[in-house]
Each structure stands twice: as structure tokens, then as C-alpha cells.
């Protein structure tokens, strides 16, 4: 028999699965990792549903942000990079979408998460800081470093990013 909690959880998943998938993809840059990220966050939500059922989305998103950074830390310990971290992306690639994907993939998860929260989720610096449990100044500096790095990694994106960023 399906309980009210389970029905509420199912309704939440059905209603917010697409939005969560988009954020997860931007955070990870990989469909498989994004799927794992969404599932892991939803699993946590299912565990603590009684406590979070009034505002589950904020909890799930925060779980995704932290889980992504946590996974990256674990992978960083076990995987060796094949390319220099700051190598310029293929200049011949003229597709901006592809360039943005590739450039984001070369940022650290923290930088990438901050950018996603600031420019995709449209959170303010204060809200971003609260969501990631960082200080506002850390969010500011991380944003600045991330954009600067994007300019180095994908010069063709400079127009998008802007010189003052």
C-alpha cells in the first residue's frame, strides 16, 4: 500500500525530475554522472522525507551541490588527468555550446557549481554562499577565478563572459 509520504515523494520526483536533471548535467557535464547525482540526491530525500517534505527541492539541490563536490574530491584521489588542466580547448571547435561544455568540464566542481548557481539558478552571492555553506567573499573570489579561467580555456567565449567578469 502506498503511503501519503511515498505518494508525495513520487509526485515531487515526477514534477521536478526534468529541472533537477538540467542542473545535474550542468554541475557534472556528463549524463551518467548527472543521473547518478540526481538519484543520490533523491535517495537522500527519500531517507529524510518526513523532515524535508515541506520544501524538498531546496534540500535536493543542496544535496546535489555538495555531493558533486564530494565525488570530485574522491575521484581526484584516484584518477590521473590525461591533459594539462589549463590547456586551451580545441580552437577549431566553433560550436559555442560544445565549447561551453568543454570549458565547464575543465573547471573545478567548486568553480563550476558556483557558476551554475550564480548564472543558471540565478542565485545572489549571498544565496549561493548559504547554499554551499561558504562565505560570500569566497563565492565572489571563486566566481572571479572561474570566469577568468573560462576565458583562458575558451577564448572564443570571451564575448559571452565579458572583460569585467
Amino acid at each position: 500500500m502506498i503511503t501519503a509520504d511515498e505518494a508525495g515523494f513520487d509526485a515531487f520526483v515526477a514534477g521536478r525530475q526534468a529541472a533537477l536533471s538540467r542542473t545535474a548535467y550542468l554541475l557534472t557535464g556528463d549524463h551518467h554522472l548527472a543521473q547518478d547525482l540526481v538519484q543520490a540526491a533523491l535517495l537522500q530525500a527519500a531517507r529524510h522525507w518526513k523532515r524535508i517534505h515541506t520544501s524538498p527541492e531546496a534540500y535536493v539541490r543542496r544535496a546535489m551541490y555538495h555531493q558533486n563536490i564530494s565525488w570530485w574530491r574522491r575521484r581526484r584521489l584516484t584518477e590521473s588527468p590525461l591533459l594539462a588542466h589549463d590547456a586551451t580547448a580545441d580552437a577549431a571547435d566553433t560550436d559555442l555550446r560544445l565549447s561551453l561544455d568543454q570549458a565547464l568540464a575543465r573547471l573545478t566542481p567548486k568553480q563550476r557549481t558556483v557558476l551554475v548557481l550564480r548564472f543558471y539558478e540565478d542565485l545572489t552571492e549571498v544565496e549561493t554562499a548559504r547554499a554551499l555553506e561558504l562565505s560570500t567573499s569566497t563565492v565572489k573570489s571563486t566566481t572571479r577565478q572561474a570566469l577568468a579561467r573560462l576565458r583562458v580555456l575558451a577564448p572564443e567565449l570571451a564575448e559571452l563572459i565579458g572583460a569585467d567578469a
Binding site: S21, L43, A46, R47, R97, D101, F119
Partner: protein, 434 residues
């Protein structure tokens, strides 16, 4: 500027199709939740058990509490093990309370085991000559032979201490001069003492007021043993059994048959104790006899030990009477016996019908030197073979307690390390399963 980046990111995101998620997420989440709750409960129990165990270990008022078998019977008990405790602290105050056992340790020091708690106490006995120690049947008096007085001046005789008050008195052993007793014997009530040396026999009432009026007779014949009943009548052996009555009359005991057959096999200086009724006397025997001898009803009677228990014989020495028909004796058995070495036994005297005879081992592997026992502490038999006649007081030496054979400090360290390791393991599991 960054607005373009915002737009471009939305475009990238909009191209993402909804990612499929597993159908059983809810069930898995609930399972993980229940597992987490169980782990929390387990962790709390581990912490509580560790803290509680530690507190119990430290707050136990007496370490016997952790090892003893059951509650000590009222009035105390004979310990189930009598061992040399090594070098216990010397008791300066002899008001230790009733004792269960007195013996001489391997270092030559006199030792006492208190009846209530089974603890060992080394004694500083004034003038002790390393000879006899004799505990009264109720364990409240201890007598010992001396070679000097409290000031160190040479003196022969014996001393007596009231273990309730700690008061000590020196007693000279004869009217014609102080002679160290060859044997001391208590009446079953503990109210009379008799002792002998050479051809003299003495007796003395014991009272707590401290007025000891001793009497001595000289027989002109070598005395081999003496025993006194609760009325002060002394029976002794000097070329035959003789009686010295409380009224002062003295004469050869009327016997129904030849009574000198045993004199050769016992030799000199052997123990004897009178039964509570005063009509039977338990006598020591040599190893060849494999029997405890008795003088009862005017004749000698042997109580042979079972030959299957002691095929090569055993020396038996009476320590006292537990009841009118039960004698506590020390048995020294050679190798190959059912119970080897010196041990304490409870056996029926021949004044009881043979159908009622019993034989119980009380304590095995006892010390060999000058052991004396408070026989009143042996409980009455209830007829079952499972009855505990002694008490396990646990570890009563002054050594630090050693749980599982490990030094206490090391044990606590290991326990704390184990608790930390367990908590870390639980934390790892938690993170792994969460």
C-alpha cells in the same frame, strides 16, 4: 556580458532530456533510514556499555564483587582455595575479626584469612618461634608458640590473641617452668585449651575477661596427645589413655580391650581433638595407616579411608569437629592418589552408623605448614552432594586485579582502544551505507 553566459547556460541545460531515475528510490531510502536508525541504537548501546562497564569497574567497592561466586554466609566461610598469597601487607592491629584459616606462608610469616571476606593478612606475632599456630573452632582466638616475650627476652610457652579485641597474652606452659607446647588442642566449644610437653599436661579456660587460670599435672610418662572437652575434662595418652577430670581427679581410662596397639604407629606429638559430646577423640595417624584413628567408648577404632581414593595410603591429622559425628581433617596423600598432596576433608567418625559415613573434599592443594582451621565455619550437611561447603571469595590477594589475566591498566587501555575502534567502524559503516 555575463547575461550572455546565463543565456548560453540555459540553452545547454534545455537540451538535456530528463534523466531516468530508479523506481525503487523510495524503498531504498526507507531501508537506508531503518538501517541508520539501527546503527544509531547500536552505537548508543556500545557507548553506554563502555561507559557503564568502566564506571562499574572503577566504582566497585571491593574487587571480590567482580569475581566472588555468591554472597558470603553469615559469620563467614572457609575459602574454597587456600594459597600462599606471596607477600601481603603485615597487619599491625590484630583485631582483624574472626578468621577461617591460619597457616605459615612460604616466606615463614604467619598468615591469617579473615572469615568474612577471605582476605589474607600477614601477622606480626610477638615472640613467635615459627612453630605452632592454632585457631579456635570459632576462629576468634589464635594461639602460637613463642621463643621470646614481646620485649624480646627469651621465654618459652605460647601466646594467645583475641582476634575481636586484638588483646594478646603470653602463657607459660607449666608450673615447673616454661616449656613450649608440643601440641595445642581446643575444646569444641572453644572455651578450653589443653597442651602438653614431655610428661606434663596443662589446661586452661578461655574467657574474654583475660583471667587465664592454667592447671598442670605431671605424669612421669611421655605424653603423646591430649584433648579437652567442653567441660574442661582432659583425655590424654601417656602409656595408655588417661583422664584428668575437671574436679582434679586423674587416672587411667577404663578400656574394653588392648589400647596400646596404635602407640607405635602414631609416635609422639600428634594431634587429638575431642568431639562436642566429649565421648570420642579423633587422633592423627601416619601415612601407612590410611585411616583416621579414634578413641571412642573406651576403645580405639580406625576410620579407614577408601582404598580406591588412596591406594598408597595417606597421613591424616584431625583439625576439629564440624558436628558430633563429622571430623575436619588434613589428608596428605602421595602421588597416584585420587586427590594428591595435602588437602582438607570432611569425614564421618565411627561414632555414627557406617551407613551414614560420608567423605567430602573441602579444599585441595593447601599449604603444608602449620595449617589450622576454624571448623565451626563448615556448614551442616544438607544431604546433597552439590552443597557448597566452602566459599569462593575470588581474588583476595593484595595484587592489583587482573581481568582476563591482563594487568588492569593494560586491560583498561585495550578496552578503550577497542571501544574507539568499534565506534570508528560504526562510523565507517554509517558513511558507507548512508
Amino acid at each position: 556580458m555575463t547575461d550572455d553566459l546565463r543565456t548560453r547556460m540555459h540553452r545547454v541545460a534545455d537540451d538535456v532530456t530528463p534523466l531516468p531515475v530508479a523506481d525503487d528510490l523510495w524503498q531504498r531510502g526507507q531501508t537506508a533510514r531503518h538501517r541508520g536508525q539501527a546503527l544509531v541504537v547500536a552505537a548508543v548501546l556500545v557507548v553506554l556499555a563502555s561507559v557503564g562497564g568502566g564506571v562499574a569497574l572503577w566504582s566497585a567497592p571491593d574487587r571480590e564483587v567482580r569475581t566472588a561466586s555468591a554472597e558470603v554466609p553469615e559469620g563467614g566461610a572457609i575459602p574454597s582455595r587456600i594459597e600462599d598469597p606471596g607477600d601481603p601487607e603485615v597487619a599491625t592491629d590484630l583485631a582483624l575479626g574472626p578468621a577461617s584459616v591460619a597457616f605459615v606462608g612460604s616466606g615463614g610469616q604467619p598468615l591469617l584469612v579473615t572469615a568474612a571476606d577471605g582476605r589474607y593478612h600477614a601477622l606480626e606475632l610477638a615472640g613467635w618461634d615459627r612453630g605452632l599456630l592454632s585457631l579456635s573452632p570459632d576462629g576468634t582466638f589464635l594461639a602460637w608458640t613463642i621463643s621470646s616475650d614481646a620485649e624480646g627476652r627469651p621465654r618459652e610457652g605460647f601466646a594467645l590473641v583475641d582476634l575481636e579485641s586484638g588483646e594478646t597474652r603470653l602463657v607459660s606452659s607449666g608450673s615447673t617452668g616454661s616449656i613450649t607446647p608440643e601440641e595445642i588442642s581446643w575444646s569444641p566449644s572453644g572455651q578450653w585449651l589443653t597442651w602438653f610437653a614431655d610428661d606434663a599436661v596443662s589446661r586452661m579456660p578461655i574467657d574474654r575477661v583475660g583471667i587465664f587460670s592454667q592447671e598442670t599435672i605431671t605424669t612421669g610418662k611421655q605424653v603423646e596427645w591430649s584433648a579437652v572437652d567442653h567441660e574442661g575434662n582432659v583425655t590424654f595418652h601417656a602409656q595408655g589413655p588417661r583422664q584428668w577430670m575437671r574436679d582434679g581427679s586423674y587416672g587411667r581410662m577404663k578400656t574394653s580391650e588392648q589400647t596400646t596397639f596404635d602407640a607405635g604407629r602414631r609416635g609422639r606429638n600428634h594431634a587429638a581433638t575431642a568431639s562436642p559430646a566429649g565421648d570420642t577423640f579423633a587422633l592423627a595417624s601416619s601415612a601407612d595407616a590410611a585411616a583416621l584413628d579414634f578413641l571412642t567408648g573406651g576403645r580405639f577404632a580406625g576410620r579407614p579411608l577408601a582404598s580406591d581414593l588412596y591406594p598408597d595410603g595417606a597421613a591424616v591429622r584431625p583439625l576439629g569437629w564440624a558436628t558430633d559425628t563429622l571430623v575436619v581433617a588434613r589428608v596428605d596423600a602421595p602421588k597416584g592418589s585420587y586427590v594428591e598432596g595435602p588437602h582438607l576433608a570432611l569425614l564421618t567418625a565411627p561414632n555414627a552408623p557406617e551407613s551414614h559415613w560420608t567423605y567430602r573434599i573441602l579444599v585441595r592443594d593447601i599449604p603444608t605448614a602449620a595449617l589450622s582451621l576454624a571448623v565451626d565455619l563448615v556448614p551442616d550437611l544438607d544431604g546433597t552432594s552439590s552443597q557448597e561447603l566452602t566459599h569462593d571469595f575470588g581474588d583476595t590477594t593484595d595484587d592489583p586485579p587482573a581481568p582476563l589475566g591482563i594487568e588492569l591498566s593494560l586491560f583498561i587501555g585495550l578496552a578503550v582502544a577497542a571501544a574507539i575502534a568499534l565506534l570508528l567502524a560504526l562510523r565507517w559503516l554509517w558513511r558507507r551505507l548512508a
